[in-house]
């Protein structure tokens, strides 16, 4: 190259074979089709954590759906003759003070925890998405009214609200649904706020203007363009919120203001076992482990989803 250094006053032309011309704006279609969610899915499948957390979460879901696959012992059959007995034969985790099978109670308690988690998540997501989407997209007085309402709900910690509702208002009508409502009705404002912020930035993008000008109705624009492009952070907080709801149920049940006595729940088992902490700590530790592992798996799943959906976080790795 140094031989034909272009001198300042001469007209230098590079030989064509050194820089062959490529077609202007050539289309390359070799790569796999990709968009945010496809990339995220591909990204998640490359992470060991996704499989570990996903497997535990999946196991919890299966246990909740068909507990009889995992035990044939009746968790409600308690015999004081076996009070605090260690593990024996088919009763691998021993007995509680009331003489109930610990393992069977954990298995059947899973459904309670996951039901509450699912119901709360549903309530929070439906309320949060509707209110967040409407206030973000339509703005003006709709936004002013809805934002103030969510501010009011945001100011009350949802655990405190649930304690008040369960111990005062819903004292006589405790059930999984009532408990979920008590938690969910006060937990939605954070979802609504996150979504509203996302929508505010997405709705000003050119593709939204284009869609409007092409003749797509505003509601359809919201549904088909704005929401899909702003929902990613909601998916993340929903996964983590699921774990939060399970913890909230356990907390309320532990305090004795959660579910009625005939419903099995990890929180209630932990609460009942606290008196035996010294002489039979395992009756407290086993349901605690079940609770922690389940909660942890959903939190980790949330982390994986967040990393996958946030391309900036991905680039940093």
């Amino acid at each position: 190259m140094s031989n034909n250094t272009p001198l300042s006053r001469t007209h230098f032309v590079a030989p064509l074979d050194e820089t062959p011309l490529v077609a202007v704006d050539k289309v390359s279609v070799n790569a796999k089709p990709s968009n945010l969610y496809r990339d995220a899915w591909r990204d998640m499948r490359g992470r060991p954590l996704f499989y570990i957390a996903g497997a535990i979460a999946l196991l919890a879901i299966v246990v909740a759906a068909v507990p009889s696959w995992f035990t044939n012992i009746d968790p409600q059959f308690c015999n004081l003759d076996f009070s605090n007995d260690p593990s024996s034969g088919g009763h691998i985790l021993g007995y509680t003070k009331q003489g109930c099978d610990v393992y069977a109670r954990i298995i059947f308690g899973t459904r309670t925890s996951l039901s509450v988690g699912l119901l709360v998540t549903l309530i929070v997501t439906v309320l949060g998405v509707i209110i967040g989407a409407l206030s973000g997209f339509y703005g003006r007085w709709v936004d002013a009214v809805l934002s103030r309402i969510s501010d009011i709900f945001f100011a009350i910690p949802y655990i405190l609200a649930a304690v008040v509702i369960m111990s005062v208002v819903a004292r006589e009508a405790r059930s999984i649904l009532v408990l979920s409502l008590a938690i969910g009705l006060f937990a939605w404002p954070s979802t609504a706020r996150v979504l509203r912020g996302q929508i505010l930035s997405v709705k000003n993008s050119d593709y939204v203007t284009s869609a409007t000008a092409l003749g797509v109705s505003p509601f359809r624009v919201l549904l088909r363009h704005v929401l899909p492009n702003s929902i990613a952070p909601v998916i993340v907080i929903t996964t983590i919120g699921f774990a939060g709801a399970i913890v909230a149920e356990a907390t309320l049940s532990f305090l004795g203001i959660g579910l009625p006595s005939e419903v099995m729940s990890w929180g209630k088992d932990i609460s009942e076992a606290q008196g035996d902490l010294r002489n039979n700590p395992m009756t407290l530790i086993w349901p605690s482990i079940a609770l922690s592992v389940t909660v942890l798996s959903f939190i980790l799943l949330g982390e994986v989803v967040r990393d996958a959906l946030d391309p900036k976080a991905r680039a940093r790795r």
Binding site: M1, S2, T5, P6, L7, S8, R9, T10, H11, F12, V13, A14, L16, E18, T19, L21, V22, A23, V24, D25, V27, V29, A31, P33, S34, N35, L36, Y37, R38, S205, D206, Y207, T209, S210, A211, T212, A213, L214, G215, V216, S217, R220, H225, P228, N229
Partner: protein
């Protein structure tokens, strides 16, 4: 500046035979996880003292990387992999960071691309100028720095420099910020000034003033200038020597005039044929209307000759000149309420009693600088905003009061293409769904018919059908703009509103899209409202021109009339500001 550094008189520099900057076989690469990705592949060039050299190339050609390598400002992962950068005999590629602090600023000045983001918004202008002067040892802290900062701003051409020192960047216009940056770049009288796209973010008239000023300053001080630009016309007008870069290599270099009149490399030939400013200039030079011109078309499907396609359009137009107007705009006014804080708001008239009409099957260009209200007119016509007063008639129907079903019918007749090719397509929609969207929204055809129409449209905009299941992020800007055009054409509209539709594209891609638009117009009898800030492009695609300024139309006439006999002073200014207008070109 009160004291001046001894400068070389302009006439003597050709005598000096040692180059100021001598780049030898320079390779620059970016380190990634997959190894080093080369950006500059062995370029060699020389700059003599006092000489102005321009590097021209499209995005990704390595021109900015070269500039940054010279001044050691490569981003984190970039590094010089081999070669020498000799500046006054010192190899900059191997200079230590410490030693570079003295060279940068003192011997080599730098004017960055984007004046908007290159001044720190939390410090006032005076602080930032003084900081540079002190850092380069040109002034002592305190009063001395202040006095010299005032001198720098005065030299940069800012009126009442003293009070300006206390102002913050947001109080300056884009042009003023660039003046400050040029002032800072030249404050220590460097031997070489590197200007990386110094005016691409500015309006053309401002660009011209700034570049004139820069030329005067560097001429007076005998500073050599290395220009980085994508605009061949601008480069040829401002530099004695041109260097054309393509894919990290120099494909052609030489004296500007010769390179333009006698391009040798096929890539340079393409560039010369595609640059709107030059093509527009060539039309001007013939002193004839477009329809009378005869230019031999370039060989090869890849090469777009703008004049040839513009000429074809002009010829076709001769037959349909008396058609009924597709759009009539009368007394259109839009007033926005601007919040001034403290619960008060002030009216701001963005569009002021604008009237024009567009004959069916023709192109009318709405030209103006930023803030002239041209895009607001587009939004009003598209009914994305409601007019304060005045009327808009589209295809014989007043659109002022249309709603519901009628509005849908209106949207069907008139479709938009927007500027930003990266923003106007939903990233979550694949190409097929994107193009089919208007069909779905208007309930046209069955699913099968829609898919067939999508394939037909892709073919019309010259894209492979295999793109249907791709997503926008996999395509280039030009390809995305083709998709946006295909989407706009899906419903077979009569009118297409093109809002800066080609402004964000590289010249070659721009030329392709312009040719495509012209072709589609001929084929489908479309009416275009073409909104742009670039007069050079107007000459190539428009039949009629409306020049807008501060919300008003200052001049409206046929394209030939506006270019050959502009009546308004403002129009003349705009025309003179087209880069390359100072070049003498034969045909």
């Amino acid at each position: 500046m009160t004291e001046t550094i001894p400068t070389t008189p302009p006439g003597t520099r050709t005598v000096n035979a040692t180059p100021l900057l001598d780049i030898r076989d320079l390779h620059v690469g970016f380190v990634t996880q997959k190894g080093v990705v080369p950006a500059v592949n062995g370029i060699s060039l020389t700059i003599m003292p006092g000489e102005t050299v321009a590097i021209v190339g499209e995005s990704g050609s390595g021109k900015s990387t070269t500039a940054h390598a010279i001044i050691d400002l490569l981003p984190g992962t970039g590094k010089v992999t081999s070669g020498q950068i000799l500046f006054d005999g010192v190899d900059l590629a191997t200079t230590s960071d410490k030693a570079f602090d003295d060279i940068r600023g003192n011997l080599i000045g730098f004017v960055p691309q984007d004046p908007m983001s290159n001044l720190n918004p939390v410090w006032n202008i005076g602080f930032q100028v003084a900081e540079t002067l002190v850092a380069n040892g040109r002034a002592k802290k305190g009063k001395d720095a202040k006095a010299k900062s005032i001198a720098v701003l005065k030299e940069a051409g800012l009126a009442d420099a003293e009070s300006r020192l206390r102002q913050y960047p947001h109080q300056f216009s884009g042009g003023m910020k660039q003046r400050v940056l040029i002032g800072i770049g030249l404050s220590s009288h460097p031997k070489l000034l590197i200007a990386d796209e110094p005016t691409s973010a500015l309006d053309v008239t401002v660009q011209r003033v700034i570049l004139d000023h820069l030329a005067t300053l560097t001429g007076d001080q005998g500073t050599a200038v290395l220009f980085i630009t994508h605009d061949l016309g601008l480069a040829a007008e401002r530099a004695e020597k041109l260097v054309v870069m393509y894919k990290g290599k120099i494909v052609e270099s030489g004296p500007s005039a010769e390179l333009l009149s006698n391009p040798q490399h096929p890539y340079t030939k393409r560039l010369v044929a595609a640059a709107p400013s030059l093509a527009s200039r060539r039309i001007q030079a013939t002193d004839r209307g477009l329809s009378e011109m005869h230019v031999a078309p370039l060989a090869g499907a890849e090469d777009v000759d703008l004049i040839a396609s513009a000429e074809a359009r002009a010829e076709k137009l001769m037959g349909v000149s008396s058609a009924a107007p597709a759009i009539i705009v009368e007394g259109l006014t839009k007033v926005f309420q601007i919040n001034t804080g403290k619960l008060r708001s002030e009216p701001f008239t963005a569009v002021d009693a604008v009237s024009f009409s567009i004959p069916r099957g023709t192109t009318t260009a709405l030209v103006g600088e930023s803030g002239s209200g041209k895009s607001t007119v587009a939004r009003l016509i598209l009914k994305l905003e409601t007019a304060t007063s005045g009327s808009i008639t589209v295809a014989g129907k007043d659109i002022g009061s249309v709603r519901g079903r009628e509005l849908l019918a209106l949207r069907r007749q008139m479709q938009p293409v927007f500027q930003d090719p990266f923003g106007s397509l939903d990233p979550l929609y694949n190409i097929g769904a994107t193009i089919a969207e208007p069909l779905v929204a208007h309930g046209v055809g069955t699913r099968k018919e829609q898919q067939a129409r999508v394939r037909e449209l892709l073919d019309q905009v010259a894209l492979p059908v295999s793109l249907v299941d791709r997503y926008p992020n996999e395509l280039s800007g030009g390809q995305r703009q083709r998709i946006a055009i295909a989407r706009a054409l899906a419903l077979k509209p009569e009118i297409v509103v093109l809002d800066e539709a080609v402004s964000a594209l590289d010249v070659l891609v721009q030329a392709q899209i312009l040719a495509l638009l012209t072709e589609l117009q001929t084929e489908l009898g479309l009416t275009y409202l073409f909104i742009t800030h670039d007069l050079a492009v107007v000459r190539l695609v428009a039949d009629n021109v409306c020049v807008m300024r501060k919300g008003q139309i200052v001049e409206a006439a046929t394209t030939d009339e506006v270019f050959d006999h502009p009546r308004e002073e403002y129009t003349r200014e705009l025309l003179a500001a087209i880069p390359g207008s100072g070049i003498q070109l034969g045909v």
